[in-house]
């Protein structure tokens, strides 16, 4: 596999990366873990003229708690996410998803920011971002801005990032109340990408076992991850027991017309599993 020729830079600051992006315009591509970009380049489906490698930028790595926010550097690997105690305690869906991505080699190289910015419709991470109500910090020539996860994924491999912008950080709000989240997927047998994956986040009322707020996002049914609003509404105000969860997940069957009966069925089973676990973790 021999990619077309390209130039390569490995800047050590975000500012420098942004400058390189602006300088090389459409021909530039950011390289994070490389597990999406490099195969495309080797097949010559992608032929960037300039590759900007982000691995030498220390500020893009790591997970830190900032009050009621978790700030995750865009270059944090799946393996680091999967092993994070902080994430496990507060945003378990990310740990679930990260630990199921690909295989150990992929998890040691692939990054959360790479997954989000690439916006593969079968990727695991984006659905968890919607369910957890995350927002993204983008940096471009005109400075930094925040983009809510719900506004970010526009289409197949298409995001709200503009050509000169770099995704630098993922911000996940941390609930102090009785909250839990989970991710369940049905993997493609060859790639391990999600045929269908469902992320669920549940907050229970303080004094009862009723659901105060549920957020459910599904990957695999469309070109972008989608919120399953009908499922969320069906569960809100109900006790998160198996019967209510099954009844709520049933709403995903309505998607069968566009996606086929089987995918709708997988969405339902994944939603049941994710909701059950999220409810358990919220206790």
């Amino acid at each position: 596999m021999h990619p077309a020729s390209f130039d390569y830079s490995a800047p050590s600051t975000v500012d420098e990366a942004v400058r390189l992006l602006a300088e090389h315009g459409d021909g530039a591509k950011l390289l994070a873990g490389g597990h999406s970009l490099l195969p495309l380049m080797k097949l010559r489906f992608a032929q960037p003229t300039h590759v900007v490698d982000l691995r030498r930028i220390p500020s893009l790595r790591g997970i830190r708690r900032d009050g009621n926010l978790l700030a995750i550097g865009a270059m944090t690997t799946y393996a680091e996410l999967a092993a994070s105690r902080e994430l496990f305690d507060t945003a378990t869906a990310i740990v679930d998803a990260a630990s199921q991505v690909g295989d150990p080699q992929v998890r040691n190289r692939g990054t959360i920011g790479g997954s989000i910015a690439h916006a593969d419709p079968a990727a695991d991470i984006p659905a968890t971002m919607l369910a957890l109500g995350a927002s993204f910090v983008a940096q471009g020539q005109s400075g930094r801005r925040f983009i809510a996860a719900g506004e970010f994924f526009r289409d197949l491999y298409t995001t709200a990032l503009s050509a000169d912008e770099l995704l630098v950080e993922i911000r996940v709000p941390v609930s102090i109340s009785r909250a839990g989240s989970a991710y369940a997927k049905h993997p493609h047998p060859a790639t391990r990408f999600a045929l269908v994956g469902v992320a669920a986040a549940i907050e229970l009322e303080r004094m009862s076992d009723r659901v105060q707020r549920a957020r459910v996002a599904v990957t695999g049914l469309a070109n972008t991850p989608l919120r399953a609003i009908a499922v969320e509404e069906a569960l809100t105000g109900q006790v998160a027991d198996p019967d209510h969860i099954i009844a709520a997940a049933e709403h995903l069957v309505a998607s069968a017309e566009e996606t086929g009966a089987y995918k709708a069925q997988l969405a339902r089973t994944c939603a049941e599993a994710a909701l059950r676990k999220a409810a358990e973790r919220a206790q």
Binding site: M1, H2, P39, P189, A190, Y262, L266, T269
Partner: protein, 791 residues
């Protein structure tokens, strides 16, 4: 499970593989690892169309790329005297369309090589290849196996109805009579889907022509370097065999796909002389999926006749076999003599008739893939027997057992040409059932069904033919080669030994097993023995490795050559001990007069005596070296019983293999650990056919899943721990009693798992689904059938 044995050991011990140290530490030497001074790199321009006329090829822009050495097209190769790639197995009235290494006027499958660019490095070669402009006029593509005969388009003008050949075997009238008398007739249409071999190491070649000596050397990923040399030298290139050396160094898996002569190595071997530089090419994984010969691809109508008690009376089989766009090297024998002849299975079937129509299509060529014809035979037979058991209400184990060829009936002549050497089928099935605790599993299955869990049990009692092959027999059936094997045993003056084998290892562990065999026969430590293979300059002409033949045929050749060494050593010992040669006996490498072991001559001392030649019997020549060319008198017939227990999820259609029991009878075993390993790998590959793998094309012949992103090869975490065991019925065909173990797993496991899944779905009234049994297919079947059990 056998325990690995690290001590010096011999025949029958689980000695750790000596080759693993270099493989596991990245020190193997594969074709792509070889680079010569001045090596150039080839990139192929390939047809993006399944069927197209080539109107013109414009190399103008490509030629101007800096670093490009040469660009060749099919027309230039033809003008340069390069012939088409032949097939090595002929059948009556077979159509033999030309197969030029580079397409000349028509491309017939996606990925077919149309031109080659040779440049100073692989990147430039690829850049320039992308600039070669081929003017195609696309033509309608013939894709469907069943539809090929009625297609208005012809893949080859010389093959009307796209038929390559029609072949039949057996007694049609006797089968008609059996069906007239039958109490039960069971019919099923079965698809045996197309598979990709997916060897870990992609195909690779490096060709180098030495102008000074006029020697041509080719390093190539081959399972049979002498076959490569003979066919490429004598038929394709016109290079004299004695000036042509083929080296197949470490090869990372073949599964059959590296038996064949491919276009790329022919192009390189010709081009190196034209440009006076070495040329290298290594396939990308995409190229492997598009161009490595694929396997299976049968559509079969099978009918089984049984009497009222479930005794099989007759079997009628009609198969359409898809050969792809060109005849690959051994393609004609796979759906015929490796398939139709195995249709008696382990059963006494009085009348069998099989007809095969082989068709050309605009798809990747099809040839032998692990099992080659035998998995197709086992699948159809084991499926139809299972369907019969369900239909007439018999237990599938009982139906099988009552139809087994009895142990006292060997050698057994089947109605489809073969004579089975030996067999004892009931003990293998009984052992498998016992290991599984069959009555308990049946009870658990019944309990599970009550809970709405769908557990299925699938049995497969298979047979396979190894020890390929008696040369006269295969010659009479159309083979254009003998299928014996060679060995040369060279004892050095110090008593160390080099064994040169015509077999070739590409994962089988010959460097260990053959050293065990030689150590056992010679009575010297394994450490004193080196196994050499894969180089036509080092090894006598040999036929290579495929069809589970290496131990049975190649191993016997080594054994026979060692026999000659020992005879000579005895004569020298007799001379030194002043005794008659017939009074000399050998134990653990010591040669002594029978009854007088304390006055013994060691093997090393005898070797030195042979080479010093100061004191040899008058009629004994110096040196200690012997050759053997062993031609087996018959095939050998491994058999066994595999049982799979699966659970199908009602919610998702996912199949979980809960248990897998494999009882194989491969005759005597040299290294149980290595045989277990081959069985494990084979089972994984066979389960993958049942559940996951399928090469798919769209109606235009475009491949739909030609990558590891989309083609689902098996992974360890999808598989259970395999419970393996053996019964041992030594083969009388060869002196080692060995049958062959390389393919039993793929042959046995596919029908076992398919039967188990169908058994799991029995409550839904589903009797058959074609492979691969994907979750979506199973869920959809359960949905549309509705559950009948509770009704």
């Amino acid at each position: 499970m056998s325990q690995p044995n690290t001590s010096e050991s011999v025949f029958g011990a689980s000695v750790l593989r000596r080759e693993d140290a270099r493989f596991l530490t990245g020190r193997g030497r594969y074709t792509d690892d070889v680079t010569l001074p001045g090596t150039t790199y080839a990139a192929f321009v390939r047809s993006p169309h399944a069927h197209a006329r080539i109107r013109a090829i414009d190399i103008g822009r490509a030629q101007k790329v800096r670093g490009v050495r040469a660009i060749f097209t099919g027309a230039q190769l033809a003008a340069g005297g390069v012939n088409g790639i032949p097939t090595a197995w002929l059948l009556p009235d077979i159509k033999l369309p030309p197969h030029p290494p580079l397409a000349v006027d028509r491309a017939r499958y996606v990925g077919e090589a149309v031109a080659v660019v040779i440049a100073d490095n692989a990147y430039v070669a690829r850049d320039a290849a992308d600039l070669v402009n081929v003017d195609y006029e696309t033509l309608p593509a013939v894709v469907d196996t069943e539809g090929a005969a009625s297609a208005t388009t012809l893949v080859h003008d010389i093959a009307p109805a796209n038929r390559c050949f029609h072949w039949s075997l057996g007694d049609a009238a006797a089968v008609d009579a059996a069906f007239r008398d039958a109490a039960h007739i069971v019919r099923q249409r079965l698809l045996n889907q197309r598979l990709a071999a997916v060897a870990m190491e992609p195909r690779s070649a490096l060709a180098s022509y030495d102008k000074a000596t006029e020697d041509l050397t080719l390093w190539v990923t081959s399972q049979n370097p002498h076959v490569h040399r003979l066919i490429m030298g004598a038929f394709v290139l016109g290079v004299p065999e004695h000036k042509f050396r083929v080296i197949a160094p470490d090869v990372g898996g073949g599964f059959g796909s590296k038996i064949f002569i491919y276009p790329e190595e022919c192009v390189l071997a010709w081009a190196t002389k034209q440009i006076a530089r070495p040329v290298k090419w290594t396939a990308t994984r995409s190229e492997s999926f598009l161009t490595d010969a694929q396997g299976r691809d049968h559509v079969t109508d099978v009918e089984l006749a049984l009497d009222a008690e479930g005794h099989i009376l007759g079997l009628r089989v009609k198969t359409i076999a898809n050969l792809g766009a060109y005849l690959s090297l051994f393609a004609p024998c796979v759906p015929t003599y490796l398939y139709g002849t195995l249709l008696s299975g382990v059963y006494k079937i009085p009348a069998i008739h099989v007809e095969v129509d082989a068709v050309f299509t605009n798809t990747t060529p099809v040839d032998a893939y692990r099992g080659a014809g035998r998995p197709e035979a086992a699948y159809l037979l084991e499926r139809i027997v299972d369907i019969a058991a369900k239909q007439i209400g018999m237990n599938p184990a009982a139906l099988r057992r009552q139809n087994f060829i009895p142990a006292d009936a060997f050698p057994y002549q089947t109605p489809v040409a073969l004579q089975y050497d030996s067999g004892n089928y009931a003990p293998a099935l009984d052992l498998a059932l016992r290991k599984l605790d069959y009555p308990k599993i049946l009870e658990e299955q019944a309990q599970a069904r009550k809970q709405g869990r769908y557990v299925g049990i699938g049995i497969s009692t298979y047979i396979e033919a190894c020890s390929i092959a008696p040369s006269q027999v295969v010659g009479s059936l159309g083979a254009q080669a003998g299928l014996w094997e060679s060995a040369s045993v060279r004892v050095h003056p110090t008593g160390k030994v080099s064994v040169f084998t015509g077999s070739h290892a590409h994962g089988q562990g010959h460097e260990t097993t053959f050293a065990q065999l030689a150590s056992h026969d010679l009575g010297i430590p394994m450490a004193d023995i080196e196994i050499v293979h894969g180089d036509t300059a080092a090894v006598p002409f040999g036929m290579g490795s495929y069809g589970s033949r290496s131990a049975a045929v190649g191993g016997t050749a080594i054994h026979n050559a060692i026999g000659k060494i020992k005879d000579k050593a005895k004569r020298i010992a007799a001379h030194l001990l002043e005794a008659a040669p017939e009074d000399i006996t050998e134990e653990n490498g010591k040669y002594f007069v029978r009854g007088a072991p304390d006055r013994a001559k060691g093997f090393g001392e005898l070797a030195l005596t042979a080479y010093l030649a100061h004191n040899l019997p008058r009629d004994v020549e110096p040196g200690l070296e012997a050759n053997s060319f062993y031609d087996p008198s018959n095939f050998t017939f491994p058999f066994g019983a595999h049982i799979a227990v699966v659970e199908v999820s009602r919610a998702t259609g996912d199949v979980k293999v809960l248990k897998y029991v494999a009882v194989d009878d491969v005759g005597n075993v040299i290294n149980p650990m290595i045989v277990d390993g081959m069985v494990h790998g084979g089972i994984a590959q066979g389960i993958a056919q049942a559940l996951w793998e399928e090469v798919r094309f769209d109606d235009n012949g475009q491949p739909l899943n030609a990558s590891l992103m989309t083609y689902a090869v098996p992974r360890a975490d999808q598989l259970p721990s395999f419970d393996t065991a053996r019964t041992v019925t030594p083969s009388p065909v060869n002196p080692l009693g060995i049958k062959g173990a390389g393919e039993t797993g793929t042959i046995a496991s596919t029908p076992a798992v398919a039967n188990a899944v169908m058994d799991a779905l029995a409550p839904f009234g589903v009797t058959h689904l074609d492979m691969p049994l994907t979750p979506e297919k199973l869920w959809t079947a359960m949905e549309s059938a509705g559950e009948q059990r509770r009704a």
